[in-house]
């Protein structure tokens, strides 16, 4: 059953990401991206990362995608003209990476997974959020504060860029 879920999520993720890249109408691409984000959240659930699954849905599907959709509608984009001329280079890069992925998948012997032990399921059952909080506010304290600084800079930068007209009017 678990394998069935994994293959369902993996297949839908691959298919919708191809749609994001291939569809010519940006709104359809955005909606395909939404479906992809939900299925990535599903994949996180199979990996016992419930908190990240919730964050994926709240932040990616709920906030970032709304931002993308707004910009697509803001700019009123129509159909894309055509694809880029870098086809040969893209094909070369893609082929190399596909071969690499096949080799990686074929090498099953060297990556035998550790079976889920009782402690791992205990973490999953007692609270993934608690486990994350435990580590985040002790070991990862500095990256946590740096993340808030980066978001501060991002917000100021976005306001400066997008709000140009209002700043000029006030001055």
């Amino acid at each position: 059953m678990e394998q069935a879920f994994f293959f369902y999520f993996a297949f839908v993720i691959a298919a919708t990401s191809v749609l994001v890249v291939a569809l010519r109408n940006p709104i359809y691409s955005t909606l395909a991206l939404l479906v992809m984000f939900f299925h990535v959240a599903g994949l996180y659930v199979t990996l016992h990362a419930e908190f990240l699954a919730a964050v994926q849905i709240i932040v990616y599907a709920g906030a970032i995608l709304v931002l993308y959709l707004f910009v697509v509608m803001l700019l009123n984009l129509k159909q894309d003209v055509r694809y880029h001329r870098q086809w040969p280079m893209a094909a070369a890069v893609g082929a190399t990476l596909v071969i690499e992925a096949i080799i990686l998948t074929a090498m099953k012997g060297s990556t035998t997974p550790a079976a889920a032990t009782d402690t791992e399921t205990a973490i999953g059952g007692a609270g993934n959020t608690e486990a994350i909080g435990d580590v985040l506010y002790t070991t990862y304290l500095f990256p946590f504060e740096v993340a808030s600084l980066i978001l501060l800079v991002a917000m100021i930068g976005a306001i400066v860029l997008a709000k140009k007209d209002i700043g000029e009017r006030e001055a």
């Binding site: 890249v21 993308y68 894309d80 893609g94 992925a101 990686l104």
Partner: protein, 100 residues
């Protein structure tokens, strides 16, 4: 039991698709969406290794990546808006003012 290599393969395929999207699309917004796909591929990889190595580090880095992705989307889309105001186009080929 799904092996770790299966998750790594999904992540690799997703990353390749995102990279192809960056290379072959001309629309700046779709290019940014492809970057998000690549970030998601990295996140899947990190979370899979975090689960199989029984360490929380991967999930925390994935959490930080999600936070940074939000900042990246805010700034990237603001740049798109500014460029669109001046040029009425989101085609990446036409943004060549700094090309020498």
């Amino acid at each position: 039991m799904v092996p770790l290599s299966a998750y790594v393969a999904v992540s690799a395929v997703l990353f390749i698709i995102g990279l192809l999207g960056v290379l072959i699309r001309r629309n700046f917004i779709i290019v940014l969406m492809s970057v998000e796909i690549m970030l998601n591929a990295a996140n899947i990889n990190l979370v899979a290794f975090s689960y199989y190595l029984e360490s929380m580090a991967g999930q925390l880095v994935a959490l930080f990546i999600i936070a940074i992705a939000a900042g990246e989307a805010a700034i990237g889309l603001a740049i798109i808006i500014v460029v669109f105001r001046g040029k009425i186009s989101t085609n990446v080929d036409e943004m060549n003012l700094l090309k020498w």
